[in-house]
Symmetry: C2
Subunit: 247 residues, 2 copies
Amino acid sequence: MGSFHEGHLELMRLTKAECEKCYVSLFVNPTQFGPNEDFSRYPRDEKRDFELAASVGVDVIFAPKVEEMYRSSSTSVRVTRLSDQWEGAARSGHFDGVATVVLKIFNIVRPSSAFFGLKDLQQCAIVKAMTSDFDLDICLYFVETVREPSGLAHSSRNRNLSSTNLTIAPELYRFLIQAAHEIKSTADAIETCKANLVRSGFLVDYVALVNPETMESITENVPGSRIIAAVRIGGTRLIDNVPVESQ
Amino acid sequence: MGSFHEGHLELMRLTKAECEKCYVSLFVNPTQFGPNEDFSRYPRDEKRDFELAASVGVDVIFAPKVEEMYRSSSTSVRVTRLSDQWEGAARSGHFDGVATVVLKIFNIVRPSSAFFGLKDLQQCAIVKAMTSDFDLDICLYFVETVREPSGLAHSSRNRNLSSTNLTIAPELYRFLIQAAHEIKSTADAIETCKANLVRSGFLVDYVALVNPETMESITENVPGSRIIAAVRIGGTRLIDNVPVESQ
């Protein structure tokens, strides 16, 4: 996307460590924003982004204009099943836009490997499925979320939080970790987590235990399962997720 | 597809002439058949297809099993605009299936060039749009339809025609050519063509003058425009099209 933060920089550092050349896309993609979403208000600071990317040794920044990327659009990627729930239900057409732009960037840049952050867990599942479904010969790396010292996941949208809400926001991670601890022994760990979040002042869109391959809600922990959540506070929507097993 | 005929062989010969290696896909794609269509009855003769391909010097035949091609399918290609009319209207989902399998084959084979027959004009428009929309670095060749001495376009479905209908079927091409001659001077050339086809015993699905880039119906001839038609006779559906300018 853009407005690089420590989560993006970590992806760049890992790419530098693993690959011969590190290409970074810098593109706020209009087709993944819904009609009522904040495309025009999405934070942009290209000069700072270029400086940050240079500071970690990025070789190429791919920063096309919208009109260069979308000359016409008769064909796009459609995501089914994996996009029915969670962020896909909340943001109609979002993942079609994500998958289409990722495919385009893959075809333009032709990477051997590509790195994505696990904060967007459903996006990771969709990119993984698309890479398999479309027979793309690309090695995918999914990288654990980078957090502030408070535990809050790095996100471009954090800057929209008021100073009061910045003190509340880290509770999201704290309650997810607590649920991940409890879920192996307590049937109502998810419900407890929701209640804790509401008590802290969040509006809860969802909290769920999911299989990260299928993104389906599950009732019993399986290897690799994660707890996902989307909440709102002061008009800002935050998503986060944690693995169960490493807790 | 499969059941190679002279039209396919001409594509193979041209590929051999233009390219270092000639790869041919031999795959009856289930996702481009509708629920009421003839996937299971579609003519198949792999042994003969291999022999025919060998006879024109094909280097590689890519003939995957259905379960190898579609291990899962959370993501597919969606075609809009270009698939709203004509074959897309008659065969819901057909062009999504076509575009998806063409993208998969492109990604597996990684050709520098690809050859398609103009008999499937709308398919050509969609492959061209997808190649541009998805930033594929592939040179596309669209090859004029190969015909029987009678003028009937080669098609796997011709074998379904009774001997009587085989004598009527070439009238389709004859009336299209006539319409292409007349269209520059006569406003009702398309209507005359439809009436002629009905009189010959065809059920007419559509006849239209189109811009082959957009597949939109047009009222005045433009460079490159073509007359397209779909008709049915004795339960067999035939499509064909001719250029206006070269008439």
